[in-house]
C-alpha cells in the first residue's frame, strides 16, 4: 500500500491565507493543488514535506478571462477546464492540442494548470506550450506580486523560480492578431508522458512569418523552447522549406536523454519532425485552412 508519510495539513481559504501559511511553515511546506504529481511523489518518498498547504478551495484562482488583449488563466484552473474553454481554443488552439494528450480525462478533472507548471517535470506538456506563446507567470509572495517570463520560470528539472513562501497565481498570454498555434506529441500509449513533443505559435504578415515561438517537451531544451528555430522562422516565407530548416534547428538545439522511451537519436529526430508538423498546422490555422 502506498501512502504518503505523515505531514501537517493546512487548508487555505484565500490567497492571502495561503501566503500566511507558507510564511509560517517556511521551506518545509509544499503547496498542493490537484495533487496528481505531488501525491504520487509523496507516496514514493521522493517528496516529503512537513506540511501541505491545500489551495483547492481557492475559487479566486479558477478562471479563464480574455480582456485588453491578454488571456489570463488562474493557477487553480483544472486541465479539463482549459480544454473545454472555447476562448482558449479560438485564440490559442495549442492548448487544446496539448490538453487532449495530457494524461486522461479523469486525471484532467483534477490536475491543474498551475500545478503542472510548478511541478516543472521536463516531460510536462503545458510548459512547452506556454513557452511557445511567450506567456508570463504571476507569482505572489509576502512582499506582493511579481511577474516572470515563462522562459525564465523553469530553472531546471523540477525547479522553478517560485521561492518558498510564494505562490503561482496566474499565467498571462498576450493575444495578437494574425496568428495561430499547434502542438504535436508522440507518446508510447494514450495518456503517457511524451517521448517528445513540439509546440509552435506563428504570426503571419501575408506569406511571411512575422513572429514565431517554438516549444519543446521532454528533449532537454532549455526553458522548453528553441530560440534557434525561432530565429530561422522570423522574417522567412511560410513554406515547407522554412519549416524544415526550423525543424533542423530545433533538433540541433535540444539535448535529449536516452531512457525507456527511446534513444537520443530517435528523440532528436522527433523534436525536428514534430516542430515541422506543429508549424505546418499552426500556419494552416492562421490562414484559416484548418480548424
Amino acid at each position: 500500500m502506498q501512502v504518503p508519510a505523515h505531514f501537517e495539513y493546512e487548508r487555505a481559504t484565500s490567497v492571502d491565507h495561503a501566503i500566511t501559511l507558507l510564511a509560517r511553515w517556511g521551506s518545509e511546506a509544499r503547496v498542493v493543488a490537484g495533487g496528481h504529481s505531488l501525491i504520487p511523489m509523496m507516496k514514493l518518498r521522493l517528496a516529503r514535506p512537513e506540511a501541505l498547504i491545500d489551495i483547492n478551495e481557492l475559487a479566486e484562482l479558477v478562471y479563464i478571462r480574455l480582456a485588453d488583449g491578454v488571456l489570463r488563466v488562474g493557477a487553480m484552473t483544472r486541465h479539463a477546464e482549459l480544454l473545454a474553454n472555447p476562448v482558449v481554443g479560438e485564440h490559442y488552439p495549442i492548448f487544446h492540442d496539448a490538453e487532449r494528450v495530457i494524461a486522461d480525462p479523469i486525471v484532467r478533472n483534477r490536475g491543474t494548470v498551475g500545478g503542472s507548471l510548478c511541478q516543472a517535470d521536463p516531460s510536462e506538456d503545458l510548459s512547452a506550450a506556454f513557452a511557445a506563446v511567450d506567456a508570463l507567470a504571476v507569482v505572489r509572495g509576502p512582499g506582493g506580486e511579481r511577474t516572470v517570463p515563462i522562459r525564465e520560470f523553469h530553472i531546471g528539472p523540477y525547479e522553478t523560480v517560485v521561492e518558498p513562501g510564494e505562490l503561482l497565481t496566474e499565467i498571462r498570454v498576450p493575444v495578437r492578431p494574425g496568428g495561430s498555434s499547434a502542438y504535436e506529441k508522440v507518446e508510447r500509449r494514450v495518456g503517457d508522458w511524451a517521448v517528445a513533443a513540439a509546440g509552435a505559435a506563428v504570426w503571419l504578415d501575408g506569406d511571411t512569418i512575422a513572429d514565431a515561438g517554438v516549444g519543446l517537451t521532454a528533449v532537454g531544451a532549455d526553458h522548453f523552447c528553441s530560440p534557434a528555430a525561432e530565429a530561422v522562422l522570423r522574417g522567412a516565407p511560410a513554406t515547407e522549406e522554412t519549416f524544415a530548416a526550423a525543424g533542423r534547428a530545433a533538433a540541433e538545439s535540444c539535448r535529449p536523454s536516452a531512457d525507456q522511451r527511446g534513444p537520443v537519436d530517435y528523440k532528436r529526430h522527433l523534436a525536428g519532425e514534430l516542430t515541422v508538423r506543429a508549424l505546418r498546422r499552426a500556419v494552416a490555422r492562421a490562414r484559416g485552412q484548418e480548424a
Partner: protein, 157 residues
C-alpha cells in the same frame, strides 16, 4: 494527529477523524466500509478507484480524504436508486460489460457522468471518456456496448 472531516457520501453526511495522509479511497473503503470502490495501481493510472467528487470523476487514490471535507462524493453504492439499478448498471448486466468486475465500479461512474453531460455519445466519445481506466478482461467492447445500451434506454425514455 487526526483531523475531523465531514463528507457527504452518496447523499449521506459522514463525520470522521482521519490522518491528513489518508487517501480518499482508503477512507471510503476502510472507515466507511464502502468497498465497492476498488483500489488498484495506487498511481492514478488504472482508474479502478474512480469516484465522483462534487459530481466529477476523480481517481480517489490520488485525492486526500481531507480534500473531500465539505464536499460530495459519489460511489458505485449510490448508483442504485430505490432498489432499481441505474440504466448504466443494467446496461452492464444486459451486455456482459464485466468479467472479473474489478474495473466495473469506476467504469460505471464514469459512464454515468458521461451520459449526464452527453446523453447520446458516439462510440469514440465513450472510448475517450473511459480512456483513463484499464479493463484487462473485456477488451472494452462490451463496456462500450453497455454504455450504448444505457444511452438508448435514457434517450427513448
Amino acid at each position: 494527529m487526526t483531523t475531523r472531516i465531514t463528507v457527504t457520501v452518496n447523499g449521506e453526511e459522514h463525520t470522521a477523524e482521519v490522518e491528513p495522509r489518508t487517501l480518499l479511497v482508503h477512507f471510503l473503503r476502510d472507515q466507511l466500509g464502502l468497498t465497492g470502490t476498488h483500489w488498484g495501481c495506487d498511481t492514478s493510472n488504472c482508474g479502478v478507484c474512480t469516484v465522483t467528487l462534487d459530481g466529477t470523476p476523480v481517481k480517489s487514490c490520488t485525492v486526500l480524504a481531507v480534500m473531500a471535507h465539505n464536499h460530495s462524493v459519489g460511489t458505485v453504492e449510490g448508483l442504485e436508486r430505490d432498489g432499481k439499478l441505474d440504466p448504466v448498471q443494467q446496461g452492464f448486466v444486459e451486455c456482459h460489460g464485466l468479467q472479473c468486475g474489478f474495473c466495473t465500479p469506476g467504469m460505471m461512474l464514469t459512464a454515468r457522468w458521461l451520459l449526464d453531460n452527453n446523453p447520446d455519445p458516439s462510440e469514440t466519445e465513450i472510448r475517450e471518456a473511459i480512456s483513463g481506466q484499464s479493463c484487462r478482461c473485456t477488451g472494452y467492447e462490451n463496456i462500450v456496448r453497455s454504455v450504448q445500451w444505457a444511452a438508448r434506454q435514457e434517450v427513448t425514455r
